[in-house]
Each structure stands twice: as structure tokens, then as C-alpha cells.
């Protein structure tokens, strides 16, 4: 802009003669030539092969056990009981035995799984009020209209927590027992805290501020969702910090699963005392289930999953096998490209004008 444009007329509007304005910037112009593409493909084959083998070895070191208990053995009675909604207040429990052939070494994670339960249905996912769950007093008393028909009870009192997601919370509970080799029956201790994301437990879900009131008094004027047995401030009678909206089980349930077959964390093995210091020893186990969640309404299955983990996650063979298959396909492609290049394009055979 410092140049004096002494001329007027047609040449006065000329842009500056800089590299940028005259579009003469230095440029790198890559081309797909044989000596870049072919080594690249062989290199990718190698990478995928190494990754596939490494991941396969990692996943093979995990152990997993799945137990379907919807209507198996003992649980058939409970299954029939739950068919009838008027029996909802009646307790029912059943037991299921299983055997671990090999010790589950390390940390063992206990999950409950559901099949054919679509938590990803749009109308279901919308039926919640995040403002209420983050502790806003105004939303506690007037839930969002998205929660309909689970926003107010027939008497007009607001429901806390509102919405279909909270209403359908999974309410089976489990106790695990180990039958030792000497005939003793040892209950397996499970840690039921720390099963949620840090951001969920501390940011997304907060109880309304209590000042000098107890939690029950803060929730005064609200009522529990229709399918619940206990109100939200009494969910955990043992730990006062696990009540209200910050209850771990509630938070885990409220994080909607992406797919109809999913599993959610229930607890982690407590390895403080023998014989569980190294994990779950091999042997016979019994799981006692307090059966409350009716599966037949969504024609689904319920299961219990015990799993050890690695840095890669649980036992999912897809990614290792996919990498190995990709490596094979890339090798085939690389060979095909080499043949095509050798026969047709080498030394610019085709490049006459």
C-alpha cells in the first residue's frame, strides 16, 4: 500500500505485485507416483499386521463370563411373578450357580446386561430433565415438559427425578458367594462406588443445595417416579453421600446406551481380603438375584457379566480381527497395484501426449 500510484486510469487498480496477491506462493505439488504409493501400501500392510497381532494377544488375555438369568432354573418363578404388574410390591429372589474354570486374575468387574432394551429410542432419550438433575430448585418443582407423562403424578405433585429414563431404572440386585474348596461359603465383596464417570458424578448430577435441611426435607413436595419402590433420597441407606440425584446406580442407568444389547457396571471386586487378593479364584459360585425388573414387556433377556480388563478394554475381538483382515486385503491390493504398474505404467509407458 505504500506504492504511489502515479498513473490514473485503467491501471490504477492493479493489485500489488507480491507473491500472495499474484498467486505465486511456493507450492508443493504431490503426485501419486509408484515410488510413493507402493511402499506406502506395503508399509500399511505391515502396520496393520503388527497392530492386529498385538491387539489379539491383548484381548486374549482377558476373561469373561456371561450368565443369562431371565428365566433359568430358579428364576422362572420370579419371571412368572413379574408378568403380572400387581405383584410389583412382592419381593422375589432366585439363585444361579456357575463355575469359574480358571482364576480371574486382577481386577474383576461385575456388570448387569440387558438385551433388546432400546435405551436409544429418541422419545425415551428426550424424556429427562438435565436441569432438574443438576440441582436447580426451580426445575425440581416444575419439571420440563419433555418428561411427560412422567412429570407430575395424578395429584399434581412434581416427580423427582422426572422422565421415562429415570422411571425405568434397573432395580435387580445381586450378591455373589464363593464356595471354597473346604466347603466354606464366603460372600464376595463388591465395591459399589466409583462406577460412574467423574464428570457425571460431580458436574452433571448434583443434589439441590441443602443448607440446614436433610435431603428428605429438600425433596419435600416432590414424589417418586411411579415404578420406584423407594424415593430418590433413600436409594442408599448405608451411605448418605450416595443418595438423591448423585446415586451411582441412578447415574450409571441415566447414561443411555447406544445399542439395544448393552451392559452397565454394577460393582468392582474388593480385593482387600483373602481369598480375593489376586482376583476371583477358580471354583463354584452362586449369585443370588433380587429379581425386580420385568424383562418380558420388551421381550428381552437379562444377564450378569464378569470380566477382567486390559488397557484396550473388555473382551471384544472385532478390532484385532479387523486389523488382520485389513492387512491381508491391503497386501492383495499392493500386489495388484505392483503388477499393474509393472505391466502398464512403468517408465511412463502410457504417458505419451
Amino acid at each position: 500500500m505504500g506504492k504511489d500510484k502515479t498513473k490514473s486510469g485503467p491501471l490504477a487498480q492493479r493489485p500489488d505485485n507480491s507473491a500472495f496477491k499474484q498467486q505465486r506462493l511456493p507450492a508443493w505439488s504431490p503426485m501419486l507416483t509408484a515410488n510413493t504409493v507402493l511402499p506406502f501400501f506395503y508399509f500399511m500392510t505391515l502396520i496393520c499386521l503388527l497392530l492386529g497381532v498385538w491387539l489379539l494377544l491383548t484381548v486374549q488375555s482377558t476373561q469373561e463370563l456371561k450368565l443369562d438369568y431371565t428365566d433359568a432354573g430358579d428364576c422362572k418363578v420370579c419371571y412368572e411373578t413379574r408378568l403380572n404388574a400387581s405383584n410389583a410390591a412382592q419381593a422375589c429372589s432366585c439363585t444361579k450357580e456357575f463355575q469359574l474354570k480358571k482364576t480371574f486374575k486382577g481386577d474383576v468387574f461385575f456388570y448387569y446386561g440387558l438385551r433388546n432394551f432400546h435405551q436409544n429410542l429418541r422419545r425415551y432419550m428426550d424424556s429427562r430433565d438435565d436441569a432438574q438433575m443438576v440441582g436447580r430448585k426451580k426445575s425440581l418443582k416444575t419439571p420440563s415438559s419433555y418428561c411427560q407423562p412422567f412429570a407430575n403424578d395424578p395429584d399434581g405433585r412434581p416427580i423427582a427425578p422426572c422422565g421415562a429414563v429415570a422411571n425405568s431404572i434397573f432395580n435387580d440386585s445381586f450378591t455373589l458367594t464363593y464356595h471354597g474348596s473346604s466347603g466354606s461359603t464366603i460372600p464376595v465383596p463388591l465395591l459399589r462406588k466409583g462406577i460412574t464417570w467423574y464428570t457425571d458424578k460431580n458436574i452433571k448430577y448434583r443434589n439441590p443445595t441443602t443448607e440446614n435441611l436433610t435431603l428428605a426435607q429438600v425433596f419435600n413436595g416432590t414424589t417418586k417416579p411411579p415404578f420406584w419402590q423407594k424415593p430418590v433420597y433413600d436409594l442408599d441407606l448405608l451411605d448418605p453421600n450416595n443418595n438423591g440425584f448423585i446415586n451411582d446406580d441412578l447415574i450409571v442407568w441415566m447414561r443411555e446406551a447406544a445399542f439395544p444389547n448393552f451392559k452397565k457396571l454394577y460393582g468392582v471386586l474388593n480385593r482387600m481380603n483373602k481369598p480375593f487378593t489376586n482376583g476371583l479364584p477358580a471354583g463354584n459360585y452362586t449369585v443370588k438375584i433380587s429379581y425386580n425388573f420385568p424383562a418380558q414387556y420388551f421381550r428381552g433377556r437379562k444377564e450378569v457379566v464378569l470380566s477382567t480388563l486390559t488397557w484396550f478394554g473388555g473382551q471384544n475381538y472385532f478390532l484385532p480381527i479387523a486389523y488382520l483382515v485389513t492387512s491381508g486385503l491391503t497386501l492383495l491390493l499392493a500386489i495388484m497395484l505392483t503388477v499393474v504398474w509393472w505391466k502398464f505404467g512403468k517408465n511412463g509407458k502410457n504417458m505419451e501426449e
Binding site: P26, A34, T199, I203, A258, F262, G313, A322, L337
Partner: protein, 258 residues
Amino acid sequence: VDCQSESFRYPQLYSPGQQNLYFNKKVFVRCMMHSWYSSLILFFIPWAAMHDTVRDDGKDIADYQSFALLAQTCLLVVVSVQLCLDTYYWTAVNQFFMWGSLAAYFAVSFTMYSNGMFLIFTSAFPFVGVARNSLNQPNVWLTIFLASLLCLLPVVAFRFILIQLRPTINDKLRHKVQMEALPAPAPRRPPPRRISTRRSGYAFSHAQGYGNLVTSPPGWSPGQTFTLKLSQYSNWWCFLADECRCHCESVHMNIYRI
């Protein structure tokens, strides 16, 4: 400046556009098949990788919000690399926008999923914590890498095969330019004898000279080779058959870092 670009030297370059070779029904169908294939990969690879697994500390990763972020990130990476494949001239501006847009995606995602945004606009930003909790898992990045490979390797292979079997005019020209650029770096030579009677007056006017472009161009890194087309060089000859009566010869120089 006249007599500058390749399109003057090789007017056949205009013919593919005139013959509708760049966009016709066949090309459109090919584009649709490519996007159909990419869509299947971009959904089913994350689905299969995530549907039965958890984080390395046992907590949830197969939830709706994490899966959405994963599919979205796979898509962004694939689209960016596809754009890189389609960019033929990488100037500093291209580099900035390419890396900048990927960086902007991650910056915006982390901002949208931050605590502050959730607490201010609760119903609009319910994905709080998702980016932090899923993008620190190696599982997620390996899935993104696999999805990108599966989407892009076929494209590269297909283009390479086409260049070998049925090179277009563009491919032939770029090959020719590359072959011309291969000889050893030519030193600055004294002006050769001029054959022409008419040459562009602009080349010798008030410009300050482009010696600095030769000795230290911007954005240079060691070992990188540029094929620079220096249009305003002092020995500027342009050669144009038939149309223009001036005889010039452009100087293509392969410049290595000294």
C-alpha cells in the same frame, strides 16, 4: 501476465472440461457408490468396535454420546484426508486451513462438552464430559485409524490404477512436468540468446527481483523439494505454439536446500 500458465502451453487441457469429462452421469454414480461405501464403514466399524466393550477402568464407553462423538470424529478425519488427496497445490494457506480445521474441530468439541457450557446452557449442551472420557482411550483412536484406512486406501488405489492404465491429460502433463524437473539443479545462467522479437514487457519492469525467492523461500524445511514455477524470472521465455508469436521458455528449477 501473458504466456505464464500451463494452459497456454497446452491448450488440450481445456478439452476435458468441454467434453464434460469432469462431471457426468458416470462420475456422479461413481461418487454415490463411494459415499455409500464410506457411510457403511463409518457406521459399522465404530459399532462393531464399541458394542461390547468398556473403558480401561471398567466404566461405560458404549453409550450413545460417546458413540456419536466417535462416529463424528471418524468422519472428520476421513473427510480431511480425502481433501488432502484432492489438493494438488499445497501452499502455506492450504496447510494452515487443513490443519487448522482439524484443530478447530477438536477445540470446538472440547469447548461444547466442557463444564462451563453445560452449566450455562444445560439443555443445549448435555454431552458434558464425553470428549474427555472417550478420547483418552486408545481403543477409540485405533477405531478411528481403522475406519480411515478402510475408507481411504481404496480411493488411493483406484486413482493410482487409473493413472497407470488410463491417464488423463492432467496426469500426463504433471508427469511431464515432473520428468522435466528431475535434472540436477541448474545454476543461474546468463541470459541466453534471444530468438524472439516480442516478449512481455512486464517481466522486466519495476519488480524488485526474485532472488530472495530462490535463496530462501518461505515455509521451507530441510530436504524438501519444490518445483517452483518462477514466472517473473529474468530469463523469461514463453513458448506458445501457433497462437502467440512470442518465443519464451519458462525456467523450471529444482531447488534443494543448500
